[in-house]
């Protein structure tokens, strides 16, 4: 067979295909969230409009709200309006009361009547910073610990690292979080522990983020260390590692250039999935450290059945996860030439 290689065109086509799939995915997510929030209460006999205006309001007020939010329309129409709002904005009209919501319009909170989008833009960067910072930390430490353990298999270092890793995997976030706060912030007083916005002070921001980062990263670093160790040991037994040694390469080069690159692929696959699951951990961490991220807001929104907020957060995190997975896939293709045209 002739050598068919992934040229720039193939990569572009691949990206376009993936982006298209991501867009379809987002629409499906919106529909599913809509169904859950509109159909489930209907089956349960709960009136959303009533919920929204409060129990004391009269039927007129309820009806007005229902009209304003077009709650009588079919779910699909509502979802369509919602999606349209994101791209071109939308207008809420109820009687003489007209509200213009310019694009990107994610609607208004049922409870506080706040516009959703500004809250998202204000809070999302904190969550993103927490997640990305933690990911970088856990990748560095997880990989390093795993590789060292694999190379020094059976030694004291290996056993020690694996015990710490086991602890990391089994301890819940609020435990490690509170423990680290107790030790480093209240006990030793090394770190303030208060969140400071990045615009105000870089060092202050770093100081506020470091404990959340470490706490969140600890859990994942532990898992990654164990996986790295197992993968690395398997790779070291591969024939091509023997070939690399037979060429006369120095051992560190064999590890770095030949073994490490193969070890990365299964880790990347894992990373793609973990970035999705990360939101749960991030919410817990944010509540533990009182960070002004999405976490706190999401908990409130769920308690209050605040659909616009839940939709907004779901969408923005889904988008983040889809983009992260796209990046992971592209990285995968860069690392492993065999998946380039898949």
């Amino acid at each position: 067979m002739p050598a068919v290689r992934g040229g720039p065109h193939a990569v572009l086509a691949y990206l376009i295909r993936r982006l298209f799939a991501a867009a379809v995915m987002l629409v499906v997510i919106i529909l599913v969230v809509f169904c859950i929030f509109f159909l489930v209460p209907k089956w349960a006999g709960v009136d959303i409009a009533l919920n929204y205006v409060g129990k004391q309001a009269g039927p007129d007020a309820v009806e007005a709200v229902r009209q304003k939010l077009s709650l009588d329309d079919p779910v699909v129409v509502q979802a369509w309006e919602f999606i349209k709002g994101i791209f071109v904005g939308r207008t809420y009209a109820s009687g003489g009361d007209v509200t213009n919501c310019s694009a990107p319009c994610f609607g208004y909170s049922f409870k506080t009547e706040q516009a959703v989008w500004p809250v998202l833009t204000e809070r999302f960067p904190v969550t993103l910073a927490l997640a990305l910072g933690a990911a970088v930390l856990w990748l560095i430490f997880g990989l390093a610990a795993g590789v060292l353990s694999a190379l020094k298999r059976g030694t004291l270092w290996d056993r020690g690292a694996m015990i710490v890793a086991l602890a990391g995997v089994s301890l819940p976030i609020y435990f490690t979080g509170l423990l680290s706060l107790a030790i480093f912030s209240y006990g030793l007083g090394w770190i303030d522990g208060e969140f400071v916005p990045l615009e105000d002070s870089l060092t202050g921001w770093l100081g506020g983020m470091i404990l959340p980062w470490v706490t969140l990263a600890f859990l994942y670093a532990a898992m990654y260390a164990r996986i790295t160790r197992a993968t690395m040991m398997e790779i070291l037994g591969e024939d091509y590692i023997r070939t690399a040694r037979a060429k006369g390469l120095r051992e560190p080069v064999v590890i770095r250039k030949h073994a490490m690159r193969s070890t990365l692929t299964p880790l990347l696959t894992m990373l793609g999935m973990d970035l999705g699951a990360l939101m749960g951990g991030a919410i817990l961490t944010e509540t533990t450290f009182s960070l002004p991220g999405l976490g706190q807001k999401v908990l409130d929104a769920i308690q209050n059945q605040d659909l616009p907020f839940i939709l907004g957060v779901t969408l923005i995190t889904s988008l983040a996860v889809l983009i992260a997975n796209l990046v992971v896939d592209v990285l995968y293709a860069v690392i492993d030439p065999r998946v380039r045209l898949a």
Partner: protein, 365 residues
């Protein structure tokens, strides 16, 4: 590492002082043992041989006979994949061009790997790194031992690919191993191992994973390249046909030991060990008229942890009762010279073996 491990000079064996030998490659009393939870695996247990430049030695044996471990031991790769675990134990002497490898500085041995001695493996797909192009891998092999820039090294890689018969080498140099066919991969592997003009080439089952027509191409290539480069070649295989094509000398291994060694013609036409007879009788041959029945060796290869006492082959040997006093089951036979440069390790007398071969075995082959 010194003479302590030697069990006295076996008759006709190239032992003696540990002074540098005259042969290009000389292995003396090589032992490679792997400690495991079940016991000590004696993969190679006292192996000696010599090899000159421009000559080919064939090492023949079944799985678990220690033939691959021998080659890894020479290359210093026997511990591969054994990180941190209980280390493989290696003893004896390996002299390569006047240097004893087992007592030499490991970094010096590393520098010899790839430059003085190179290796071709059985499965070229798994032996080449899947993430690097063929060119990158050959360039790397060249630049370890030559201080040249990448461009020069790449030119060298293209030249080598051309030499081993890969069409359009300037294009194929940028292909990945999975884009090559099995035969092309093995050619690329050969190109990589020969890029530094090594004086010793070890080919471990180089054609076992290949189809027969491709095997013929690769054997042809190895033969031509050896003529051209004048290297010493060790070819390790279970296929007597393959060694007959290439080898000048033959070494038959069983249970980690050498049972017969000599010039290929001698071992093929006048074999003096029952195991060699068994191998010859087991294989159907295209060059003879149809045999009525094959003459298999009964039983299975021995466990390397619990080798049978005495002659390791005795439980499978149809002639185990020929020598008197149960000696086959109690005493390990030493290699004795049975002809010019021809050794075999068997308790039967020369005359007995000659008679059995000419009267009972040869007519049935």
């Amino acid at each position: 590492m010194t003479d302590t491990s030697k069990s006295g000079a076996a008759v006709g064996e190239p032992t003696g002082s540990s002074a540098a030998p005259s042969a290009f490659l000389e292995v003396r009393d090589l032992k490679v043992h792997f400690p495991t939870d079940d016991g000590l695996v004696k993969s190679v247990d006292g192996l000696s041989f010599q090899l000159e430049r421009g000559k080919t030695l064939g090492i023949v044996g079944e799985s678990g006979s220690g033939k691959s471990v021998t080659s890894l031991g020479i290359m210093g790769l026997h511990t591969a994949g054994q990180y941190g675990r209980r280390k493989a134990q290696i003893s004896g002497e390996i002299w390569l061009d006047g240097t004893e490898l087992l007592s030499a500085d490991p970094d010096h041995v590393r520098k010899l790997r790839g430059r003085e001695m190179a290796m071709i493996f059985q499965d070229p797909l798994s032996a080449l790194h899947p993430y690097y192009t063929i060119g990158q891998q050959i360039v790397e092999a060249y630049r370890i031992h030559h201080d040249v820039d990448k461009k020069t090294a790449k030119r060298r890689a293209v030249e080598m690919l051309d030499r081993v018969g890969i069409p359009q080498p300037d294009k194929r140099v940028d292909s990945y191993p999975h884009e090559f066919s099995g035969g092309m991969r093995q050619r690329a592997m050969i190109a990589m191992s020969l890029v530094n003009n090594p004086e010793l080439l070890i080919a471990d089952e180089p054609t076992t994973a290949l189809d027969v027509t491709v095997q013929a191409q690769i054997l042809d290539l190895i033969r031509d390249l050896q003529k051209e480069f004048g290297s010493a070649v060790i070819i390790i295989t279970h296929d007597l046909g393959v060694v007959a094509e290439l080898a000048d000398d033959l070494l038959v291994m069983y249970g980690g030991r050498c049972v017969e060694r000599g010039p290929a013609e001698k071992v093929f036409y006048e074999p003096r060990h029952p195991y060699t007879w068994g191998l010859l009788g087991s294989m159907p041959r295209l060059d003879r008229d149809q045999q009525e029945r094959l003459i298999p060796v009964k039983g299975s290869p021995p466990s390397l942890i619990n080798l049978p006492s005495g002659c390791a082959f005795n439980p499978r040997c149809p002639y185990a009762d020929v020598p008197k006093d149960d000696v086959t089951r109690t005493v390990r036979p030493e290699l004795t010279e049975v002809g010019s440069k021809h050794w075999a390790a068997c308790h039967m007398s020369q005359e007995q073996r000659e008679r059995i071969w000419t009267e009972e075995i040869a007519p049935k082959l």
